[in-house]
Symmetry: C2
Subunit: 215 residues, 2 copies
């Protein structure tokens, strides 16, 4: 059923591993590597070679028998799979420490995500800027989104206001939300792409693994 | 094979869902709910009822036919599974915006994680404090860890220094690392518990899902 390969749904588990491949390949490029065998990549990444082949076969392969992978080519292809060749305009709603931390990540721009504004309700922050990115007030949101064709919002606000603000952002044209509020958003529009970073969940997983280690 | 149930390894996929159950049950408690059927929990959480039953059966069940789940009991039991009844001392290494954002999360303490110090190399930060948590200099690390029996370190530093500092922390007695540096740590001691929050990976996954939505 070779023909169906690109048609079927690729599991989120596979997708979740792709950024990691991308990261390792980027490090290989920085180190001057031109090609790598699936065995070498496997031992570096601590994933079986067959897992790597299986994962990449979801997208059509990229390896050559007896050669392995061309590092730069594979890096670029995975970048395209992840959509990193597209350009996006992102705003950060919530200019507290976490919002400012995100604004300071220069590398997000390398992936096509330009952070073009921070928003907050705190009047003291008005006119401030973080790495040249200005902080606006929430009442400037509508005009800003329209003027700058913003498609993504990172939400770094308390969970109590998250649903309300997320739905407002969607009404204003935002199509994707990177959600740091500690709640699963309930959105009226089910087509919106949501990616959650639940820090508490992560800490609880750490807690479980500590407990498991001890027992 | 009832007897083997608690012996076998529980998959990380199941564990990854536990904090979410815990979060929803916490919200139910706040809303005054005393019991919930697996169907109700299922529709709230957007997970099938059979998935919920299967997940919880890994730990012995907790539900009663015709009654459903006792919310408070289930909340407490999942808390114990996750080890949230244990107390931990955590330090944050890297007192930039992200480190300060973590220090400001009051709820981590509810899960048993007391943040007792921030560390940085920036002399300007010396003596400052965030929500009453003091910023120390890196050369105070060793004495501090010994004096306060610290077991966990959150790493909010650039990836270039992450391996070196993580290994030093482990030498000083840290047994678990909550890693925000954008790299998979290479630790000499393989027993150390590591939980990664790779923000770039998360953003790439968002990127993939945007691209998928469009096509």
């Amino acid at each position: 059923m070779e023909v169906c390969r690109l048609e079927r749904e690729i599991s989120q588990a596979v997708i979740r591993r792709m950024p990691r491949y991308y990261r390792y390949l980027g490090e290989l490029i920085d180190a001057g590597a031109e090609r790598i065998s699936s065995n070498d990549l496997s031992s570096r990444m601590n994933v079986t070679a067959s897992q790597i082949r299986q994962d990449l076969n979801n997208f059509g392969g990229f390896g050559q028998q007896g050669y392995g992978y061309n590092v730069k080519y594979l890096y670029e292809e995975i970048g395209k799979i992840l959509g990193l060749n597209e350009k996006h305009h992102m705003i950060i709603v919530g200019a507290g420490n976490l919002g400012q931390a995100l604004a300071n990540y220069v590398e997000f721009e390398k992936f096509g995500f330009a952070i073009i504004g921070l928003f907050d309700v705190e009047p003291d922050l008005k006119g401030h800027s973080v790495r040249g990115i200005r902080v606006y007030m929430m009442d400037e949101l509508e005009a800003f989104i329209k003027a700058h064709s913003v498609d993504i919002a990172a939400l770094t606000i308390p969970k109590s206001r998250a649903d309300m603000i997320a739905n407002r952002l969607v009404e204003l044209g935002i199509t994707a939300i990177w959600n740091f509020a500690n709640v699963d958003l309930e959105l009226a529009d089910k087509e919106v792409v949501v990616e959650n970073v639940h820090l508490s969940d992560s800490l609880m997983q750490l807690s479980y693994n500590i407990k498991k280690q001890v027992t």
